[in-house]
């Protein structure tokens, strides 16, 4: 075991431990208090505000999509707030399917946040005044994990309930492509 090999092994080990640590801390953090009020998005009424929402969402990925606590809280809220009423377990019903790669308004976290907060035409109610912002971010993170876009390590495993779908940690990530809604029906062409 020449020393040169040992040095390289040592560097590799330290690097991998570093990567493991940072991803570990991010995935396993349990911060129960929401971030300072300034950092997250107000009720975006105008288009300008929506751009701000999308911009600030990127900064929040580590806190929500890569965090196991946030994604599983999102899953709990999905059942508590009866999202399955219209979207079933992600396969869609009267509401659109969320497990596939078809996104009517865009699959990034910021847009999903705005969809939940301000609602969309054709039946998506606005929950902005009823659900705290932190929880909307958690729901957005969970919705992205339905399509396998959240990090696989943080995605929840199977439910202690009747088996309705393969666990989110199983679904392979669908590359989201946005379909332009037709002006008249609001449905994708």
């Amino acid at each position: 075991m020449s020393s040169r090999f040992l040095d390289r092994a040592l560097v590799l080990a330290v690097a991998s431990v570093g990567a493991l640590t940072s991803s570990g801390c991010e995935r396993e953090a349990r911060d129960f208090l929401p971030p300072k009020p300034g950092a997250e998005v107000g009720h975006a009424a105008s288009a300008a505000a929506s751009a701000a929402a999308i911009a600030s969402a990127a900064a929040m990925v580590g806190r929500y999509e890569h965090n196991a606590h946030a994604v599983s809280a999102g899953k709990r809220l999905w059942t508590w707030y009866n999202c399955s009423g219209c979207h079933a377990n992600g396969g869609g019903g009267s509401g659109p399917a969320l497990m596939d790669d078809v996104w009517i308004y865009g699959g990034d976290a910021g847009t999903i946040y705005l969809t939940i907060a301000n609602g969309r035409p054709n039946g998506m109610p606005a929950f902005g005044s009823r659900i705290p912002k932190d929880q909307i971010w958690q729901l957005a993170a969970y919705v992205r994990s339905l399509a396998g876009l959240a990090s696989a390590d943080a995605a929840p495993n199977r439910d202690d309930a009747f088996l309705t779908r393969t666990p989110e940690s199983f679904s392979d990530s669908q590359k989201p492509e946005t379909v332009k809604p037709s002006a008249a029906t609001g449905r994708p062409q």
Partner: protein, 665 residues
């Protein structure tokens, strides 16, 4: 043959040229048998020496090296887990304290329990057995030294991974027995429960490997003349523990893997909605869980049975009675696991059977305690530190054992289950039943391991501080439990009235730490700064390990001893005293028959190799890969398969060397 030129102890050359190889063929075969100063003894020393450098360090497989590594690593993990225990005590010292948040506290008590049970208690007992049993039964190494070396590396890697996970906020947080819905797929958030399941697989694999090694060593490698009835009591305790491990540890390994399948593959063993049952995990875990605490307790009984005759200056009273009660305790311990589940909705009649079993298992232990007291009454006492710790053991174990009887009764357990009464009981039984005998054994065998005596004065201070500290910390917990304080709470309101006794217990913890600190000072001072050497038999004991120098030569015995009584040094054999004729140029030992220890065959111990370490690394790759990705379960098996293949592939040079010593059956 007998010219007295001293052979220089030169390290074994790694690359031997062809010429030298022919030369070694013509060299006459040197056999052991004559005393310490002879040429054969020097050759033996050279044969049994480890290879130099890092590669030598990683491939050493002597039983003393592996045993010592187990004990030292176990004490390091115990130190870390002890600090966690201290942190918890200070968090609970006052009501509504914010020293530690709930999430970190859950990781603290889960890590404290898991590290103490899986990474300290069982490995330290197996480490002592690996070190002392071959010396006590008169052989040069354990039966499968490479397997035990691989077990040590698995243990080290498993421990480092668990503490590494804890350092990256991924430590287990569902307690040391991780009940399923909370450690299951839905409520066990993130990778924390996966790391716990992985560690259980590690520590059980390690435990099983060492157990099979020790069982085979005790049954097949005893000195000629050491029949089963003349085996020392510590060897009996190690045998009973190892056989129990072989029957109990597969259970939790299977259970932990089933939980891992539930979490990773989506199976439904513990999902009540799809036909599973959360209680199944409690059955799986506690069927192993109770024998687990007896793996820790029975070796400690072995320590006490080894120490009392030496310090009472007479053979043990009721030797056979103690052997039978060790075996009975081993059997009965498999029949009482449901007393951990009295609060569930299992049928009442079934539970009362387990009450009867829990009471019955107290009888063999009582018999041993009475036999020890009889030995002390009939002996002349040497009041040194090991004996002090044994007396402390009596006092604290009795309290632990009797509270155990109380907990065994179904109705009373409904009041005290999962309260601080149970925390007090388990600490009294584990510290009284295992840590006190462990300290006694450490003070007793320390001169044999290092060749230096631990200081008596510091030893007594350590004993008294530890004795007072343990009682002051854990006795108030009985009363806290009766006042309704549940287990595993990170804080409590001032209105509950638990603050006063918790403060007393925190004070006791400080005294505990002082005692342990004194012990550490004693260790460091003796190992690094003391010079005068201990003799081969500083305590005047009777068993074989005291017949060799301190520290023992690499090959243990220059001539394997022959035994004629239970205390070979006190009543040595009349005519035949030792064995001769084993090779001094390859690592050779003598296997004997199981019951009467008649010489049976010569046995070539495997030479040190790097493969055990490589195999442990490959198993680590598999286990870590399987935590992170589902295909990892399957593809991860390729590295271990390759490693074990290379481990088994015969080494040509050694085959030629051993062929010279071969004898047809």
């Amino acid at each position: 043959m007998d010219d007295a030129r001293a052979l220089p102890l030169r390290p074994r050359p790694r690359r031997r040229s062809r010429a030298k190889a022919q030369a070694s063929d013509r060299r006459e075969l040197l056999r052991d048998g004559d005393g310490a100063g002879s040429r054969a003894a020097a050759e033996l020393e050279r044969t049994w020496q480890d290879k130099p450098g890092l590669r030598g360090f990683l491939s050493a497989n002597g039983h003393k090296t592996t045993g010592l590594r187990f004990v030292v690593t176990a004490f390091v993990f115990a130190g870390l887990a002890g600090i966690m225990g201290g942190l918890m005590r200070h968090q609970l010292a006052t009501a509504n304290s914010h020293l530690v948040g709930p999430d970190f506290y859950n990781q603290l008590f889960s890590m404290h329990g898991t590290a103490m049970m899986f990474l300290f208690a069982v490995p330290v007992m197996q480490g002592f057995a690996l070190y002392v049993v071959p010396l006590m039964i008169g052989t040069r190494n354990t039966a499968f030294p490479r397997m035990s070396a691989c077990a040590y590396w698995l243990y080290l890697l498993g421990g480092l991974l668990l503490f590494g996970a804890f350092a990256t906020n991924t430590g287990p947080d569902a307690g040391w027995f991780a009940y399923v819905p909370l450690a299951g797929p839905q409520y066990g958030i993130g990778k924390r429960a996966d790391f716990w399941n992985m560690l259980v697989t590690y520590s059980e694999a390690m435990g099983l490997m060492v157990a099979v090694d020790i069982t085979t060593t005790i049954l097949k490698l005893r000195a000629p003349g050491m029949t089963l009835r003349q085996m020392p009591l510590f060897v009996w305790a190690s045998l009973v523990t190892s056989v129990m491990i072989i029957f109990a540890m597969p259970m939790v390994m299977l259970g932990a893997n089933l939980v891992q399948f539930d979490r990773m593959l989506g199976t439904h063993f513990f999902n009540p909605a799809e036909g599973g049952d959360p209680l199944l995990w409690q059955h799986l875990f506690w069927f192993f869980g109770h024998p687990e605490v007896y793996f820790i307790f029975i070796p400690a009984l072995g320590f006490v049975s080894a120490i009392i005759p030496t310090f009472a200056r007479r053979p043990m009273f009721g030797h056979d009675a103690i052997v039978l009660s060790l075996i009975t305790t081993g059997f009965l311990s498999f029949g009482l696991w449901v007393h951990h589940m009295f609060a569930t909705n299992l049928p009442e009649l079934g539970k009362s059977f387990f009450t009867a079993m829990s009471f019955m298992i107290a009888i063999p232990t009582a018999l041993q305690i009475f036999c020890w007291i009889a030995t002390i009454a009939a002996g002349r006492l040497v009041m040194r530190t090991p004996f002090l710790f044994v007396l402390g053991f009596f006092f604290i174990l009795m309290i632990g054992g009797l509270t155990g009887v109380m907990l065994g009764s179904v109705p009373l357990d409904l009041q005290v289950h999962d309260t601080y009464f149970v925390v007090a009981h388990l600490h009294y039984v584990l510290i009284g039943g295992a840590v006190f005998p462990l300290f006694a054994a450490l003070y007793y065998w320390f001169p044999k391991v290092t060749g230096k005596m631990l200081s008596e004065r510091l030893g007594r201070w350590h004993f008294w501080l530890f004795f007072i500290g343990v009682n002051l910390t854990f006795f108030p917990m009985h009363i806290l439990g009766l006042h309704g304080m549940p287990r595993r709470i990170y804080t409590y309101g001032a209105e509950t009235g638990w603050e006063a006794l918790s403060l007393v217990s925190a004070a006791g913890q400080v005294i505990n730490d002082l005692g342990t600190l004194l012990f550490a000072i004693n260790l460091v001072r003796t190992v690094f700064f003391k010079s005068e050497r201990a003799s081969a038999d500083p305590w005047g004991a009777g068993t074989l390990e005291w017949s060799v120098a301190s520290p023992p030569p690499k090959c243990n015995f220059f001539a394997l001893p022959v035994v004629a009584s239970r205390e070979p040094l006190w009543s040595p054999p009349a005519e035949v005293t030792h064995v001769q004729g084993l090779s001094a140029q390859i690592r050779e030992g003598l296997t004997t028959t199981v019951i009467d220890a008649l010489p049976d065959t010569r046995y070539a111990y495997p030479a040190p190799e790097i493969w055990p370490f490589v195999a442990a690394l490959s198993v680590t790759i598999w286990l870590v890969w399987s935590v992170w990705s589902v295909p990892g379960f399957a593809w991860g098996l390729i590295p271990p398969a390759l490693a074990f293949l290379l481990w088994y592939w015969p080494n040509k040079k050694e085959a030629i060397e051993e062929l010279k010593w071969e004898g047809e059956p």
